[in-house]
């Protein structure tokens, strides 16, 4: 396993993702001869080693998929040493900091390394990440993780309180990322770390008061294009919904019922596949259920017909009537979604000096 490149076959010692349904993944380090207990029974490491990444592997009572890690999957499955940044914010940081191979980036704090993996992905193999962590323990664990993940060469991990002691870097960085309780204390040193030819800076803060102080300091230091953004992910559960047609006449009732038989094929109720792992598992299902807010009338999309181009004349209807039901495909948002992670403040340092 490597975060530098995909490897086709799973090797002894690799850390892999076991996929057992969405929101049901875990990270496993393989070791010859070992056995791991999943909720679907025992998984023999030896059954995994040597297989291609993306393979389906038998467990005692079912099967799991074994996936190659990506920074996104890592973010979902990493050991939390701190609060972490998630994929939506990470992708915004990466694109807004203009990261590309060759970029020199400064990050503080390293935290659980969630963002670090994505930064390294964007800047390798010619760039370099200088990441700073206040806690020694975390800093050591991050160092080890980067090495284990085959990306150690692209990152320098420093244990250092940057608010107190600065970054100790002079005009080397193309971009600086700050996730600190008091980011404004690190801004002078951040400016020094940025190249004189200019660069980009991002500060992530959960509270608006932190943002206010940071923006003021950024303006004082001559940063321009200071922009504060929030980015929220709204997922949709794609479902086939059948709403009953209203029975607006006692007379018409029987007719509807007869009609209904004609289109039973299109209104199958979800059947569980034989295995425990449903390949058609969809993002929100589990969550929605747990929160007791499952909406009614939802038939899972289980159409078995293969893809075909079927000409059909009257085609613009969002809803079609089938017997006593109105049927349509829709994307149902979950009851709850992330409402806030933090404010992302970006700024540009133009060339100077």
């Amino acid at each position: 396993m490597s975060f530098k490149e995909y490897r086709p076959n799973i090797l002894d010692g690799d850390t892999v993702v076991l996929f057992m349904g969405h929101a049901n993944m875990l990270s496993l380090k393989l070791q010859k001869g070992e056995v791991f207990q999943t909720k679907f029974g025992a998984l023999h490491h030896d059954d995994v080693i040597g297989k291609k990444y993306g393979s389906k592997v038998r467990t005692g009572k079912g099967f799991v998929y074994v996936l190659h890690f990506t920074p996104e999957l890592w973010t979902l499955n990493l050991p939390h040493r701190t609060q972490i940044l998630y994929a939506t914010d990470i992708s915004m940081v990466t694109i807004q900091l203009d990261l590309k191979p060759g970029s020199i980036v400064v990050e503080s704090g390293t935290g659980s390394g969630s963002l670090s993996h994505s930064i390294i992905r964007a800047i390798a193999p010619t760039g370099h990440l200088h990441t700073f962590e206040f806690h020694e323990e975390r800093s050591k664990k991050a160092r080890k993780e980067f090495d284990d993940h085959d990306i150690g060469e692209y990152v320098t991990v420093r244990h250092r309180d940057v608010c107190e002691n600065g970054f100790d870097l002079e005009h080397v960085a193309d971009a600086v990322f700050l996730d600190l309780p008091r980011p404004w204390d690190a801004l002078v040193s951040a400016k020094t770390a940025l190249r004189k030819e200019g660069g980009r800076l991002c500060s992530f803060s959960p509270c608006i008061e932190q943002v206010q102080k940071s923006c003021e300091k950024l303006r004082d230091l001559g940063f321009t294009e200071i922009v504060t953004l929030e980015c929220l992910l709204r997922p949709f559960n794609v479902s086939n919904v059948s709403l009953p047609m209203p029975q607006m006449s006692s007379m018409k009732k029987r007719k509807y019922e007869t009609d209904a038989e004609d289109c039973d094929g299109a209104t199958k109720v979800l059947k569980q596949p034989d295995g425990n792992l449903k390949e058609d598992d969809d993002p929100q299902k589990d969550e929605v259920k747990n929160k007791g807010s499952e909406t009614k009338n939802v038939v899972k999309d289980e159409e078995s017909e293969i893809f075909n181009l079927r000409p059909y004349v009257d085609s613009h209807d969002a809803v079609t009537i089938c017997g006593s039901n109105a049927k349509f495909k829709t994307g149902i948002p979950p009851t709850l979604m992330p409402g806030h992670t933090g404010y992302l403040t970006f700024a540009t340092l133009l060339p100077y000096g």
């Binding site: 109720v269 009851t335 979604m337 404010y343």
Partner: protein
């Protein structure tokens, strides 16, 4: 900046007038709302009635006579008034985020065991006393920072102090109650969507409103609250709602006079509103043979209605598989009971935290105690009489509906709304608004197109709203880390004369 300003005080200024105000104290028979942060439960106050709340069991008698807004603690299975000062668990509590600097969470080192705490509760110790004991027995409390001490106390209070504010029900609180309990049962109708329904439909005193809803009565009750006994409401109900019953409406504590403006009309008779037969012989419509004896028609109708209900439920069952919802069972249960029973059902909805639990408890209630014999008597004696009464009321409502010129139409239905809307807009006067709510966008897009094709409808608009709550605390202000991702969709429009 007029320092002493002129005041245009109108002669009719009622200012401090208290006329027509509701009594301010909790009395027997009132529906009230128990509230503790996000937990809201409605119950009708009855002497000696036992309530279940957050795994506690207690009598309601202690609340009677106190003003609305009073806080009570459960103590020895009774409600005891609490002074507001000693607790303030609610405000100034950080609702999440930025705990990155928190450590040592497991180092509390509490000398009291969980069993000892349970024992203290059994002995009737009040929550505050338990918290005091916990502080006393915490090895680390004294070495905590002031901020940490405060946080510790708040956390413990939240866990051990069961203090509820008893509030007078209103649209906002009833909406909050259903939303916090699981908004699927009210079609994911969020309070901002509900507020917009009332505004966009121009609901006000003296309005004549048609409502077709399947939100357990939340929308209907909200409309009735804004009318306060002035105007007219026709509630179109489907077969599943026996005689148009709507549990949430009960909770509003409407007076008889306020409810007198509410008329029910069955959905499956919409096709016959304008038939001539209905005018000459209102009892005989909706059957193939017109020359049928009055009484038997009534029974046939009633039966048809019941059957429709069961069929509908079955269909729902087929469509949603396992999702046979509890509210149906409760309503069914209600249909066989009297008013007291209905109220019990509402309490039952609120009584447990799991949906499964509701069903179980409701069933227990239905088979237990003296209610059973009551229901039996009712079934035998009042059945046909009630049916006849209901039939007469439907015929009255038919006339009201037929007269048309309603001031607004509100549809918030579990059915596909288009046919309902296309039918009911015929009774709405020109220059009047209509509002259609759905938890799905597609049925409203369909309805939008059909209305546009029909013509005679202006200002067609399909919208959704985003509702975001903020934590506002010194130095810790940010939007809440979780938000509702959907509050449903609204289709609004204005009717006009057609060419």
């Amino acid at each position: 900046m007029a320092s002493e300003a002129k005041e245009d005080v109108r002669p009719c200024d009622p200012g401090t007038s208290e006329s027509g105000r509701m009594q301010n104290s909790i009395k027997e028979g009132d529906f009230v709302i128990f509230k503790k942060e996000n937990i809201l439960k409605a119950i009708q106050i009855r002497k000696n009635r036992t309530m279940f709340l957050e795994k506690m069991k207690f009598k309601l008698d202690g609340a009677i006579g106190h003003p609305y807004g009073t806080m009570f603690e459960v103590c020895n299975m009774k409600l005891v008034k609490v002074e507001r000062k000693i607790l303030n668990t609610e405000d100034a509590t950080d609702k999440g985020i930025d705990n990155r600097d928190l450590h040592d969470r497991n180092l509390e080192n509490q000398k009291l065991s969980r069993d000892e705490i349970v024992e203290m509760k059994k002995e009737g110790l009040r929550g505050q006393e338990i918290v005091d004991q916990l502080v006393e027995n915490s090895a680390t409390f004294k070495i905590k920072t002031e901020f940490s001490q405060e946080k510790y106390i708040k956390k413990k209070k939240k866990k051990h102090v069961s203090v509820y504010t008893i509030l007078r029900p209103c649209t906002r609180l009833i909406s909050d109650m259903y939303t916090n309990k699981g908004p699927a049962r009210i079609l994911n109708l969020r309070i901002d969507s509900l507020g917009q329904i009332l505004s966009q439909a121009n609901v006000r005193a003296n309005s004549r409103v048609i409502v077709m809803e399947n939100t357990l009565g939340l929308v209907l009750g909200a409309v009735l609250e804004r009318l306060s006994g002035l105007g007219c409401v026709v509630s179109v109900y489907s077969g599943t709602d026996v005689h148009g019953s709507r549990p949430a409406v009960e909770v509003f504590n409407f007076t008889k006079e306020q409810l007198a403006i509410l008329h029910h009309y069955p959905l499956h008779e919409l096709d016959t509103v304008n038939t001539d037969i209905a005018d000459t012989n209102p009892q005989s419509i909706n059957t193939d043979t017109v020359t049928i004896e009055k009484k038997s028609t009534d029974i046939a109708m009633a039966t048809a209605s019941d059957v429709a209900m069961e069929n509908d439920s079955d269909k729902t069952g087929i469509e949603s598989g396992k999702d046979k919802t509890n509210e149906n069972e409760i309503i069914k249960d209600n249909s066989k009971g009297d008013t007291t029973e209905k109220n019990e059902a509402i309490v039952a909805i609120k009584n447990t935290d799991t949906e499964q639990g509701v069903t179980k408890e409701t069933k227990e209630k239905a088979t237990n105690g003296d209610n059973k014999s009551k229901r039996f008597r009712y079934e035998k004696e009042e059945h046909s009489e009630k049916k006849a009464e209901w039939r007469n009321k439907v015929e009255e409502t038919r006339k009201i509906l037929k007269a048309g010129d309603f001031d607004s139409l509100i549809v918030a239905s579990k059915f596909h709304p288009t046919p309902i809307v296309m039918d009911l807009i015929e009774y709405v006067a020109p220059s009047r608004p209509i509002v259609v709510f759905s938890q799905y966008k597609e049925p409203l897009m369909d309805c939008f197109s059909k209305l546009r094709s029909r013509g005679g409808v202006l200002n067609l608009r399909l919208t959704e709203t985003w509702l975001r709550e903020h934590q506002v605390l010194p130095g810790r202000t940010h939007p809440l880390i979780n938000m509702s991702a959907t509050g449903g969709y609204l289709l609004t429009a204005t009717m006009v004369m057609r060419d």
